[in-house]
């Protein structure tokens, strides 16, 4: 609320003039604000433009977090300018730069074309399974609606894509936002492009390293990570399960020894809607290039499914990055400890440092370290280790995991995510993307 003292801040804004070209630079402004708690970053930009530099360019439309036009990187983190309150930003300086992975048009304005192109590639549009004259009867507490929840509320702001360190590593990676929409359509019993969509998206899902950046930055609190994991499980169940009637053409493509790897068997609390596989309705509206793409991708994704396990990203070729967790002897046998890992991340413009906690569990028998991601597999909240209860606990929705990471209670759909580990020269390392 009001009653805050006026405050002056240094605002550093990325500038790029298309007429000049080059790498761009930062301009430094000073701005005095009467009440920072009533001032958004969008207000800051509007004021800077009005009072200090008329040529400053940024994008907005609704100014109330509904259109997703004003995504940018504010103090190193993706956010909507119209939803970020100045008072909430700590420190003297505020640094504002355009979203990563997108070509810059001018200053903070990026070209969103790649976003929409990726989005479209995932066949992210409803295609009625059959003609109906009346809205389908679907109970709000039905499985599918509980799975889809508010994930359809994406406003296509691009924050998740910008935060994703994988998005610009793989030409064919659809990225979190598109995959989230794919997921909501796959879960929607009314939709008729089930198999094509699955074929289109599954390969993409194995590019995800479960870093959860997308989940963290999404202004609508959507977890694309959850969506991606859903698609993987769905595929495991529908395509690879022996005797599955789905997509026999896909299964024919598989090598003879192909059965689902153990790690891919759906976990008990799977999220699949109880829906018979839809038959394909008319493909009239389908663009012909789509079909070609599917054939090509099919082969790629099968390779991906067979070779990878849900948590073994190392099977894909890419530079390995091992991050030091600490001295191995600091994690005595039989203990579970929290450690902080830090590592630099390079994106389109800058290198930033990721810092996040991990859990190190040292089991006595066999003598080995397990390092867990500290995010709950439900919606990505931070877990904490409770020594008394001997459980990992999520305060958001009450999820609980046993010391070996297996779900004990609550909504988490699967075990905790773990890192690949290695011990070298007395130090414990985990592999990061």
């Amino acid at each position: 609320m009001a009653n805050h003292a006026p405050k002056t801040r240094i605002i550093k804004v990325f500038r790029y003039d298309p007429a000049v070209g080059g790498p761009g630079h930062f301009d430094r402004f000073e701005l005095k604000t009467d009440d920072e708690s009533l001032t958004t970053i969008l207000d800051v930009l509007i004021r800077l433009q009005k009072t200090q530099d008329l040529s400053l360019a940024f994008r907005y439309a609704c100014r109330v977090s509904m259109c997703g036009s004003c995504g940018m990187v504010i103090n190193g983190r993706e956010a909507l300018a119209c939803k970020t309150i100045l008072a909430d930003l700590k420190g003297e300086e505020v640094t504002i730069r355009p979203l990563n992975h997108f070509p810059v048009v001018k200053d903070l304005v990026v070209d969103m074309e790649p976003f929409f192109r990726k989005y479209e590639e995932g066949l992210t549009y409803f295609h009625a399974a059959r003609e109906r004259s009346e809205p389908a009867i679907i109970r709000p507490d039905s499985r599918e609606r509980r799975v889809i929840e508010s994930s359809t509320e994406c406003i296509a702001c691009g924050c998740c894509v910008s935060s994703c360190t994988m998005a610009n590593w793989h030409k064919d990676y659809l990225g979190p936002a598109a995959l989230n929409r794919v997921f909501t359509l796959l879960a929607d019993s009314r939709d008729g492009l089930h198999e094509e969509r699955l074929a289109r998206s599954l390969g993409s899902c194995y590019h995800c390293r479960t870093e959860l950046n997308c989940t963290e930055v999404c202004p609508k609190e959507i977890s694309a990570t959850r969506a991606i994991k859903y698609i993987q499980r769905l595929a495991a169940k529908e395509v690879l399960k022996p005797g599955s009637t789905v997509r026999s053409d896909l299964r024919e493509l598989m090598p003879p020894q192909s059965t689902a790897p153990a790690a891919l068997t759906p976990e008990p609390e799977d999220l699949l809607p109880a829906v018979p596989p839809p038959t394909l309705a008319s493909r009239r509206e389908f663009l012909s290039r789509t079909t070609l793409g599917i054939a090509a991708l099919t082969i790629v994704f099968l390779g991906g499914v067979l070779a990878a396990t849900a948590l073994a990203p190392t099977l894909r070729k890419r530079p390995e990055k091992w991050v030091d967790v600490g001295q191995a002897e600091d994690f005595p046998a039989g203990s579970v400890k929290t450690a902080q890992i830090r590592y630099p991340v390079k994106d389109g413009f800058y290198e930033s440092t990721v810092s996040k906690p991990v859990f190190v569990s040292h089991q006595e028998n066999p003598d080995q370290f397990t390092v867990f991601n500290s995010r709950c597999t439900h919606l990505g909240c931070m877990l904490h280790w409770d020594d008394g209860k001997n459980l990992f606990i999520c305060d958001c929705h009450g999820g609980q995991f046993k010391p070996d990471g297996v779900v004990k209670a609550g909504p988490p759909p699967r075990s905790m995510d773990r890192y690949l580990t290695m011990v070298q020269d007395g130090h414990l390392f985990v592999q990061e993307a």
Binding site: P18, T40, L42, D43, C62, K106, P135, R145, S150
Partner: protein
């Protein structure tokens, strides 16, 4: 200059524009359709900002007749009844198509059928919604459907002016500017639809996104299209006040008052006792806005110059659960909607007036169609909450079908008049050549303040007369603007703001001239000097066209009471 030739040009990409594109395409997939939209695809406009929902008859206990009666009653019986009838009748198939073809999923009753909630001014609970973010669901889904089809989208491209043939009777396309590059281009089309969604951002407090700047109505007026009901501008009673922030004016939805939230002045009085002791805060938007405004003018305004809205007594949990979007929006600024009063003010919200259309969306000019908030007549003197998005979707759908039909006979793409194009382009570039002159941003503030005080919620002859002169003065200054320091033409926001002023000024002209003509109070139009609704004065509409001097020429015409008579007009 780059030229694009197409069968159909659609200006805008809100609900009306998108449904038009989808319906035209589905009627004939061979049609070349080009959408020109000022924002990124699917991101502009108010359709996606719809919170409350969509009025539609779905229940057998409800009827189109009841919906029509509610709509006419809300509009104080000056609606075009033919348009209102088509609205309510076609809303039913429209919403069903949104679910079954486009994949929208609206909230359900526990039994799995589509949920309908109450909304002010309705005799039946008929508002379909998706939580309090209905617009995001509608527009996200229809935008995907556009992507799915072979429809060309030119995003961040702004239509500047409609282009006429040499007779001025036929519209042959539009002059546009690519905002990203700053380059002009022309679209020539066999049929053009204007669907830029009005958007009265020409006031101190406004609800629509600032990106909307009355462009369509300005263009229509300048092209000589006949307009109607321009004095009818709706103020939403509860725009959030956030001092100094661009967020100011953003809405707290009406459902809150529907659920029992009440309004307080600085003395802590529920002042609605004085203005509408029966319906209290559940009264119509016009009465609620006017009452708050009068309280503010009488010096009983609260801390930030507005009034307070109180929802805490409904129970914190109830508010958080049922109005999550509103709760979060307030919370962002430290206001606790679920537990404390929140400062609000009426905010300019919606243009009931607009281009004269028939039920097939033809305007008064050949080849030109209009739909959605840019068109007038559906809502009369006051729009019911939930009829706005219904209007845009229904009439967008009508327009799409109608254009496809029109192009069955008429596929020829006419040519635009080169001289007109050059002349317009030169005018739009003029300020770059000047080195001194006023700033467009200051002039915009001036115009907003002037409209708020002179052409706002409570109007008088004296103020309206003054306004008409001030508008011309501001216009003269706008013509002197310079753009030094704003950079090149690429993504030049200040240049775009300057262009917007022409549209805001033209609409201000239309509003003030029409408001002066209507010497009574009716619906959203409140005259302090004629505070009573006067039915003896006759039920009429004010039509207008642009005169040679740029000012409107007005004509009053009686309303055709084709289906229903004002048996019970209540104020």
């Amino acid at each position: 200059m780059k030229k694009i030739r197409t069968d159909i040009l659609i200006i805008g990409m809100g609900g009306a524009a998108q449904l038009a594109a989808l319906n035209a395409f589905d009627a004939n997939p061979d049609l070349n359709i080009v959408i020109v939209t000022k924002a990124l695809q699917g991101k502009g406009g108010c359709s996606r900002m719809v919170q409350g929902g969509f009025n539609v008859v779905l229940n057998s206990a409800d009827s189109h007749e009841k919906h029509l009666r509610d709509t006419l009653k809300g509009g104080q019986y000056i609606n075009n009844q033919e348009l209102a009838k088509t609205l309510v009748e076609q809303a039913t198939p429209t919403i069903k198509e949104m679910e079954t073809r486009y994949g929208c999923f609206f909230d359900r009753y526990p039994d799995g059928t589509v949920h309908q909630k109450p909304f002010a001014g309705q005799s039946f609970d008929r508002t379909v919604h998706k939580g309090d973010l209905t617009g995001i669901e509608i527009i996200s889904r229809t935008t995907e459907q556009i992507m799915k089809r072979d429809i060309r989208i030119l995003e961040e491209c702004r239509a500047l002016d409609l282009l006429a043939d040499t007779t001025g009777r036929e519209i042959v396309g539009a002059l546009c500017v690519d905002i990203k590059q700053g380059d002009f281009f022309v679209v020539e089309a066999a049929a053009t639809l204007v669907a830029t969604g009005g958007g009265p951002t020409s006031y101190r407090f406004f609800a629509p996104g600032p990106e909307k700047t009355l462009d369509g109505m300005g263009m229509l007026y300048r092209a000589g299209v006949r307009m109607v009901d321009m004095e009818m501008l709706q103020f939403h009673p509860t725009g959030l006040i956030v001092p100094g922030s661009v967020v100011a004016g953003s809405l707290l939805e009406e459902g809150l008052r529907g659920a029992g939230a009440y309004m307080l002045n600085s003395l802590g009085e529920r002042y609605m006792q004085r203005y509408d002791p029966v319906k209290m805060e559940r009264t119509t938007r016009d009465v609620m806005s006017r009452s708050s405004f009068l309280e503010m003018m009488a010096g009983r305004d609260c801390e930030h110059g507005g009034v307070d809205m109180m929802a805490a007594h409904l129970g914190a949990e109830f508010v958080e659960k049922n109005f999550p979007g509103m709760y979060t929006r307030c919370k962002l600024f430290g206001y606790d909607l679920a537990r404390k009063p929140v400062p609000v003010s009426p905010a300019a919200h919606f243009m009931m007036g607009g281009a004269v259309i028939d039920t097939a969306c033809h305007t008064s000019l050949e080849r030109l169609f209009a739909a959605g908030e840019d068109a007038g007549g559906v809502h009369g003197a006051n729009r019911l909450g939930g009829n706005g998005i219904a209007d845009s979707c229904v009439y967008g759908r009508q327009a799409g079908k109608s254009m496809a039909q029109y192009l069955k006979q008429e596929r020829g793409i006419p040519q635009a008049d080169e001289r007109q194009i050059e002349h317009l382009a030169a005018n739009y570039l003029a300020p770059f050549a000047r080195t001194s002159g006023p700033s467009p941003l200051t002039l915009r503030d001036e115009l907003r303040e002037m409209n708020w005080t002179h052409v706002g919620i409570a109007r008088t002859e004296e103020k309206l007369q003054q306004a008409i002169d001030i508008i011309e003065k501001i216009h003269e200054e706008v013509l002197m603007v310079q753009l030094t320091g704003t950079g090149g033409r690429a993504y030049n926001m200040v240049w775009q703001d300057w262009i917007a002023l022409f549209n805001m000024l033209d609409v201000s002209r239309m509003i003030s001239a029409s408001a002066l003509q209507r010497q009574e109070t009716r619906g959203a139009h409140f005259r302090l000097d004629y505070p009573k609704q006067d039915d003896r004065y006759g039920l009429f509409n004010i039509f207008l066209n642009r005169g040679a001097n740029g000012k409107p020429i007005l004509e009053k015409r009686p309303v055709a009471l084709k289906y229903m008579r004002p048996t019970d007009v209540v104020n």
